[in-house]
């Protein structure tokens, strides 16, 4: 036993008080509606999960492997256990239930036992009276490792002689899409290219954090910042050896997610410590630990070949995509599937042969991130379309228009293209947006030149470039998974006025879902006041806040519950007031046409009308062995045009403007929509130019926001947008998910603009200055030093200038 307090002790603190839902006065669907969490966040009053506090709580900390690949020879916690103020030290032996977890494949140890497979893998956890005591206790845990050579890349993992990282080998998934007859497809022109995407981080600002509170009866309440409460609950319960109802989760303030919180971090650890000590335990990762504590965007290498007729019709696409999944599966299966199905882009391709491979390595585990799978594929297929346009002597936008997919056609994975699929329209829209005026370079404000206030150029060698890209992605989960959502709506009179209460388990991660739920309730029930209850597992699952799906699925569930409540109110009006015609609710009143019937408060009286609704979207299906099937629910499309200015000598970039056109089905809240589009573009810009977790031999070299470069407001250009509202007949209000498309094609548009400005091939993202300046096609493994081969290759500045 590795604890120095009695086990099974009653909690020393009462259960955490459930926060009250703030009452909103939202606008209707489609109206501008200020976010209920906006002002508290700006004022610093919003309670994020890292702010959670209870009297008497302990502080948890995690011992992590310093090695990406090693065998654990000995693990000794005795010194740590004896330290004053240390309340528990737990290892894999203390995991009461299943020792592994995983959203798709249970392959990840809660705490490592014989082997560690990535740098930062948890080995032991500690609870102590003070965070510093917990940290010092970690230093007292003795772990003897036998360090092994890491499998440092997906290509290495594929080799026959590579060490097997898991019992069944290193291949996690392979998806093949075979369409038409690619082996015999003829083309007048063909182009090939190899492309590479680096490991991007979600870079959310709120670190992983949570508070576990034992209930004194063997169960536990966990307050946690996550994207999917119910899948967390079920995994936690399984590893704790508890029934799901003994583990209750409540969403605490989430400081950004972008896929990085879809998987577990300290959920099981904090609950284990709380149950062991009988006291609340809070865990908060610091920034460096956060880089080890969540999954990242999959790096990948892609080989593409496109063939086309002389007049620019695509004849075939052949592609091979190899993803580095890192040490554990997380949601890699879905990424592999998405990449395979979106590899051809939103184009009509009569023949295709696509293979997507997902490999285990000793690199950090990768999983969900905004646009998962589609982001990587879009960079490659859009780069190829530009390359093909050049080979054909065509305008790149004209080539895209010539091949734009349309409703009624079939995607290469066999699914019929549903209506609306406005690829042509968004390309034409984005092209028609006036170009930004080209300003004189000389005499400009430094902030408007590449390099900004670093004062590195005054305009010499600065060139402008323009690039276009279009992308698409599935909304919601695919391939046969029923990612339903549940909503409970209660209508009553509080403080003399009708109030609708909405309760779901859907995670608000900053996208504005709480406001949207209130707008829907306001619209459907005609009430001025709405309170959205904190998300928790006391209501049925809402699925994950990912894949741009919550507005669609939870929006539909809230709408459905409101409709049921409304029908019960109408039933009462008909029964009690003898009304027979069609009724509506508006302005806290019951109306018949425009005629006032009764105040809603009077109809409700002291009663509560409560209804719960589940929304299940239409069925999807897994792909068959040739990668064919109706796998996806909904498709969202966006096009981007980037205008950049590049200092071609120093490789510095200023993105002047991003223009975009996106079909959103229905603008639910204009302010939120603009925020999603601008935020998505910022993340796309980051991937194009800045953001990469540098991993060498399995070790992360830049686990800080000093070294992991993020775009700031100074890097963000003006964004001009043309929004299409082409209603999806199957979706609530006709809406489409909007969160991911802005990220997907903004990146290749920026890179296309860089190519236009520099003439460099730029086949790897993020694009680094040395690629832009033509020094190297990819970042050097080591920084060049005088006398090194790299230094000689770069040469002296004045010599380079002459080339």
């Amino acid at each position: 036993m590795t604890t120095n307090v009695p086990t099974g002790a009653m909690p020393q603190s009462p259960p955490r008080v459930r926060p009250r839902a703030p009452v909103q006065r939202p606008g209707r669907v489609g109206e501008e509606s200020a976010r209920v969490d906006g002002v508290p966040k700006v004022r610093g009053e919003f309670e994020y999960s890292s702010d959670l506090w209870m009297d008497g709580m302990l502080h948890g900390a995690t011992l992590r492997s310093p090695h990406p690949h090693a065998e654990i020879r000995r693990l000794d916690t005795s010194e740590a256990v004896e330290m004053a103020g240390v309340r528990a030290v737990l290892t894999h032996e203390d995991v009461p239930g299943r020792k592994v977890y995983g959203m798709e494949i249970p392959d990840q140890p809660v705490l490592a036992w014989e082997r560690v497979r990535y740098q930062g893998e948890p080995v032991a956890v500690v609870a102590a009276d003070h965070p510093e005591t917990a940290r010092r206790a970690l230093e007292k845990i003795r772990v003897e490792y036998e360090v092994l050579d890491p499998v440092a890349s997906a290509e290495e993992a594929m080799r026959d002689d590579a060490p097997k990282l898991h019992l069944s080998g290193n291949v996690l998934r392979r998806v093949k899409v075979l369409h038409g007859d690619p082996a015999n497809a003829a083309a007048d022109v063909s182009v090939s290219g190899e492309y590479e995407v680096g490991m991007q981080d979600q870079a959310f600002l709120g670190p992983e954090s949570g508070l576990a509170v034992p209930d004194g009866q063997g169960g536990v309440d966990l307050h946690i910042s996550t994207q999917w409460l119910h899948i967390d609950r079920d995994q936690v319960a399984e590893s704790l050896g508890l029934a799901p109802e003994q583990v209750r989760l409540t969403l605490s303030g989430v400081g950004g997610a972008f896929g990085g919180r879809e998987d577990l971090s300290m959920q099981i650890h904090s609950c284990m410590l709380a149950l062991e000590t009988g006291r609340p335990v809070r865990m908060v990762y610091n920034r460096e630990e956060s880089f080890y504590g969540h999954v990242h965007r999959h790096p990948c290498r892609m080989r593409f070949e496109h063939g086309a007729t002389r007049d620019g019709k695509l004849a075939y696409v052949k592609a091979d995509l190899v993803f580095d999944g890192g040490a554990y599966a997380s949601s890699s299966n879905a990424v592999c599937l998405n990449a395979a199905t979106f590899a051809c882009g939103p184009y009509h391709v009569p023949n295709a042969e696509i293979e997507s491979h997902m490999l285990y390595t000793n690199n950090p585990p990768c999983g969900a991130m905004r646009g998962f799978g589609a982001v990587q594929a879009c960079f490659a297929h859009e780069s190829q379309m530009d390359r093909l346009a050049e080979a054909l002597g065509m305008d790149p936008v004209d080539l895209r228009l010539r091949n734009a997919i349309e409703p009624g056609m079939r995607f290469p994975f066999g699914q019929e293209v549903p209506h609306p699929a406005p690829v042509r329209e968004i390309l034409e829209k984005v092209r028609s947006i006036p170009m930004p005026e080209e300003q004189e370079l000389a005499g400009r404000d430094l902030r408007e030149l590449p390099g900004g206030v670093s004062n590195v150029t005054h305009g010499e060698d600065v060139r402008r470039g323009v690039g276009y890209a279009v992308g698409f992605k599935n909304i919601g989960f695919s391939a046969g998974f029923d990612d339903y959502s549940t909503a409970r709506v209660t209508l009553s009179v509080e403080e003399g006025e009708p109030l609708a209460r909405v309760h779901t388990a859907a995670a608000e991660v900053g996208q504005g879902l709480v406001t949207l739920q209130a707008q829907i309730a306001r619209t459907e029930l005609g009430v001025g006041r709405v309170a959205v209850e904190p998300a928790d597992t006391r209501v049925g699952s809402a699925g994950s806040t990912s894949a741009s799906r919550q507005s669609y699925v939870t929006g539909a569930a809230v709408k459905g519950a409101c409709e049921r409540v409304r029908e019960r109110v109408f039933g009462r009006v008909r029964e009690e007031l003898g009304e027979e015609g069609p009724l509506t609710l508006d302005g806290d009143e019951v109306l018949s046409g425009r005629r006032f019937v009764a105040p809603l408060a009077e109809v409700l009286g002291d009663d509560e009308v409560e209804e719960t609704a589940e929304y299940h979207h239409r069925e999807t299906h897994p792909l068959d062995e040739n990668g064919q099937g109706d796998a996806h629910l909904q498709f969202a499309f966006a096009a981007h045009r980037a205008v950049v200015e590049v200092d071609t000598e120093l490789g510095l970039v200023r993105v002047v403007e991003i223009a975009t056109s996106q079909d959103v089905g229905k603008v639910m809240n204009p302010q939120s929509l603009e925020g999603q589009i601008e935020g998505g573009i910022a993340q796309g810009l980051g991937l194009a130019l800045l953001e990469e977790i540098q991993v060498k031999e399995g070790k992360v070299l830049n686990a800080s926001f000093t070294d992991y470069l993020l775009p700031t407001i100074l890097d963000m250009p003006r964004v001009r947008m043309e929004i299409l509202e082409l209603s999806d007949p199957e979706a609530p209000y006709g809406l489409k998910g909007v969160g991911e498309p802005p990220t997907i094609s903004s990146t290749p548009a920026i890179v296309a603009a860089l190519r236009d400005a520099t003439g460099q091939p730029l086949t790897r993202i993020p694009v680094k200055p040395e690629q832009i300046a033509g020094i190297s096609s990819k970042p050097p493994d080591e920084p060049p030093q005088p006398g090194s081969a790299g230094y000689a290759e770069i040469g002296r500045l004045d010599e380079r200038r002459e080339h």
Binding site: M103, E104, P106, H166, L167, I231, E238, G480, F481, Y484
Partner: protein
């Protein structure tokens, strides 16, 4: 366990060592057999999980248990779970 694209069936096998000589040959034999099925992951020092379709998991279980017993294991603890709470279309309760 619910989840996105979770397996239809999982089988957790814990190999019970036969003697106190510190030999783990039974476990290694079981791990090798499990690995060969293409369905396996480690789930503890003596434990592995097989996950996949019903038929392939049940078939794999026979082979892994056989390998462990052939190598001298004193027994194999087996826990099989149907992923009934992983909702698939047309199958939710």
């Amino acid at each position: 366990m619910p989840g996105y694209e979770r397996a239809e069936l999982t089988a957790e096998l814990k190999v019970l060592l036969s003697g106190g000589d510190g030999s783990r040959a039974e476990i290694e034999a079981a791990k090798t057999a499990a690995g060969d099925t293409g369905l396996a992951h480690e789930a503890g020092p003596e434990t592995m999980v097989l996950a996949g379709g019903r038929g392939e998991v049940l078939d794999a279980v026979t082979r892994v248990v056989g390998a462990a017993l052939d190598a001298g294991a004193g027994g194999v603890e087996l826990k099989i779970e149907a992923q009934g709470d992983a909702p698939r279309f047309g199958k939710q309760g």
